[in-house]
């Protein structure tokens, strides 16, 4: 029978919340006590079940009502542009990443509407918005589980123009508005976008016409 105190330590260990001496001592106990190890396995198994249960919703498209709410509005105020420009200036010093001129074979990018997500295994592609480039070409902003990208249409494929890694940002260290990947992406959009983002109906037409 495992005591409550040990259950609390096991739970914290499973969550990666034990540190320093506590972690060392408990790790040693785990090596010596099979009952603790079995309990830890059971905790992890139930955690996995919980996560699988919650992931059911990934197979269901995000409702249009929600997508409409988070869609970036067209047009920006002068004040906001000034604030963002200031943030972008800071960004260019440190974290602006222009991706190598690689071409990606994202056939799925052709087909997704903004707000839709394509899931494949543990990864996914979700398109955030589409826009026209100043030279008349089309670009799409998208996120995967690991990256935030702008891809632009080139011939029959999509080329990565900007790519910034995504990472979980711990509490109290979230970068201010305009910083980090969001600001980097915004910098590209502002520099290259003609007008505003493409509206839903027009985007659907473009998808049907294979972005021609």
């Amino acid at each position: 029978m495992i005591q409550d105190e040990d259950l609390t330590l096991l739970s914290a260990y499973a969550d990666g919340e034990l540190v320093g001496e506590d972690l060392i001592r408990f790790s040693e106990r785990l090596l010596k006590e099979p009952a603790l190890r079995r309990e830890l396995d059971a905790i992890r198994a139930v955690d996995e079940l919980m996560i699988s249960h919650a992931r059911q919703i990934d197979d269901k498209p995000v409702p249009e009502e929600i997508r409409a709410l988070v869609r970036v509005k067209s047009g920006r105020s002068a004040t906001k542009l000034f604030a963002m420009a200031a943030a972008v200036f800071l960004l260019t010093i440190g974290s602006f990443i222009l991706a190598p001129q690689s071409t990606i074979d994202y056939a799925v990018v052709d087909e997704l509407e903004s707000g839709q997500r394509f899931v494949q295994g543990d990864d996914y592609i979700e398109v955030i918005a589409s826009f026209r480039r100043l030279d008349g070409g089309f670009c799409r902003e998208l996120v995967t589980s690991t990256a935030h990208r702008i891809v632009c249409r080139q011939n029959t494929s999509w080329r990565i123009e900007v790519e910034v890694p995504r990472q979980d940002v711990p509490l109290n260290s979230y970068q201010p508005a305009g910083a980090g990947d969001i600001g980097t992406i915004d910098a590209f959009v502002r520099e290259h976008m003609a007008g505003s983002t493409i509206e839903t109906d027009e985007e659907r037409k473009l998808i049907k016409q294979n972005w021609r």
């Binding site: 919650a54 269901k60 988070v70």
Partner: protein, 185 residues
Amino acid sequence: MWNSFTGSTLNMSERTVLADEVLRRYLVEEMGSMRRYALSLTGSLHDADDLVQATVERVLTGGLPVDAPKAWLVRVCKNLWIDEIRKRKIRNHDSYSEEGEEVSHVADIPSNPVETRIDDVRRYDAIGEALEKLTEDHRVILSMIVVEGLSYAQVAEALELPVGTVMSRVARARTSLRKQIGGEI
């Protein structure tokens, strides 16, 4: 129904909030995670998206602080859900008390045919049923930590609890969940 949420008051007056466009992009990036969290809270696909919609509406109005957007996002979502549960309990109590029946859990009472079908499917999902039987405190904290992957410090901020309390509560919640699952899994 969900548009009428009042939600618990969150004091954002002295915090710097994300700018509108940044906030929207942040919400897009968090959408998958937010929906999974909402599903683990509500136990229903239908309710989960309603809850996400209410949460998005709320944060677009009230904003998210730049220093802890995730903790506030889950807190808004949790508060809205708790409010909704309270309302449903009151409504269910009012309607059922006339017939002298007892209402055991809000999620047992489907509100429309779509939800009924979803619940039919979910009936075979042992973990879903076990989650429904947990207390709200336990379900909330497990959803935050296991599904959302928040740290104890983030949960402590979101729930306004000491980290030590978070640590012991999540352990008790896990024990309770395993008891509910029993031999079904």
